[in-house]
Symmetry: C2
Subunit: 303 residues, 2 copies
């Protein structure tokens, strides 16, 4: 058995995961960050709550960069160069394995979801940013090699990104990018149904909902968005030539007809694999929010 902990923006969720990658039980506590020492202790306490029987390690997925048992930095919690495993072991004597959250999602899908049966696999998560977790020959590109595919430039001299580049994929293909594109379309088209669907605020799904209702402006927003998503995805596929890529995150719940179908068509046109005998499958992620916990728990199997 393994413990996986998903460090989210507001909660810590811990799960006990069995050898088959099944989530056996889950516990959660609010994320109340009061320094690395206390955080490590909370991880240990939460682990103890879910542990039953013999556990081989505790895996933790967090938004940021890791190196072995150290956290290099996290994006929503003020941690920098924290020896988290060392702090954790004061409270619970088990190996603590660390992973970036997008990487953990990829590991979860690899063992229990869309990546089952592959050796070369990636998950692209469309959320606040574009996260990518990459598995090559059954091993995760984790730690110092963790992918930052969201920061490939798809548009020279495009919109500034907070990474320092201009025109990064994630500025266009993230939920954040889609929301911005939707808002711009609403300003330009006061007659659009988008305004009705956005009564409680513009979300990632707003454009897809209005497009489903037949709104032309929304349809154009969706088409344009899929174009951005396809551009970076085709480049990623040309570079890595994986067997399959799964698309996860809130936006991935959009109707297949509006998202995955046109995405597959565009990528097929633009990917080199059509020449070379391997056509990369583009699939929906299957595990939803559980992917992070399951992937964190199974980190030790892909290292």
């Amino acid at each position: 058995m393994y413990v996986g902990i998903d460090v989210g923006g507001t909660n810590l969720k811990a799960g006990l995961v069995d050898e088959e990658g099944k989530l056996v039980r889950v516990e959660r506590v609010p994320l109340d960050f009061q320094g690395p020492e206390r955080f490590a202790e909370t991880l240990a306490e939460l682990s103890k709550k879910v542990i039953q029987g013999k556990v081989r390690w505790v895996g933790v997925g967090l938004p940021g960069a890791v190196d072995g048992g150290d956290v290099l930095f996290t994006t929503n919690i003020p941690m920098e160069n924290v020896p988290l495993e060392r702090l954790f072991r004061k409270h619970l004597d088990l190996p603590l394995l660390l992973g970036n959250d997008a990487d953990c999602a990829a590991v979860g899908e690899f063992f229990g979801g869309a990546g089952k049966g592959t050796r070369d696999f990636a998950v692209v998560t469309l959320g606040t940013g574009v996260g990518a977790g990459i598995i090559v020959d059954g091993k995760l590109r984790g730690g110092l090699a963790s992918s930052e595919a969201g920061h490939m430039v798809i548009c020279q001299d495009g919109e500034p990104c907070n990474c320092g580049r201009k025109g990064c994929w994630e500025r266009y293909a993230s939920a954040t990018g889609l929301i911005q594109q939707t808002k711009r379309a609403m300003e330009a088209h006061p007659e659009s149904l988008l305004h009705e669907f956005a009564r409680n605020g513009v979300e990632g799904r707003t454009a897809f909902q209005a497009a489903e209702a037949g709104d032309e402006t929304a349809l154009a927003v969706c088409r344009n968005y899929v174009g951005y998503l396809a551009s970076g995805l085709a480049s990623l596929i040309n570079i890595l030539r994986p067997e399959a890529v799964a698309i996860g995150g809130g936006v991935a719940a959009a109707p297949e007809r509006l998202l995955l179908e046109p995405l597959r068509e565009a990528v097929a046109r633009e990917s080199f694999s059509r020449h070379g005998g391997r056509v990369t499958k583009i699939l929906p992620a299957e595990l939803g929010n559980d992917a992070g916990i399951i992937g964190a728990a199974l980190l030790g199997r892909v290292m």
Copy 2:
């Protein structure tokens, strides 16, 4: 001992390579393609010419795509879906290992050049196109997984590429792209020294030569070209986060001050690795034309 054969545009070069990756002897014959059967026989004859002592396999690097012992297609020779190993073994009973030429260059540099001592390494070859060979955890992304990083889009809706995309990296960062950029600058600047250096035709080095002589137009061409090269390279590095990338091909012979130094600066600004503790080294390839033979010979060590 191993045999490596480099299939070029005009010649076949075979070499005997020892356990240390050293080229012990070389033979070459003109490429006179008269069908797959005869081609396989030529490969066997050429191998026999260099073989001394016990040889474990013959490796062949060619411009195109391969899958196991089959050639899927080649770009300068009319082969498509040719079972080359099967044809070869009629004449010489040794395993025939196949690789794309950019991949073989990467393998050569990995064992005997700029990639020595790394596990995660890439070679970007600037020639007619932009070739990329990628080694992950000591294994080549070869065969069906062979990288087509030259076909990542760096410029949305940019110049059409014969792969079907628009704005591919190789349209801008290859020697071909540089020559085109140089010609355009010459048209716009009849006063430029470029015209003197191009008396025998514009080559990849023309802009660098005129820039060395202090020509402002040429300097601008070089700066602009390095910008394109850096854009794709930073994306590749953000996606893969290798330890080192070597730059090969004719253009890589340009003065370090004009090519590698500004390239390193631009990539350092744009690569995410600066956050994450791993700074990818950008190095000149070391083996020149021998990389292909040596890499082909050592293919079996990275599969």
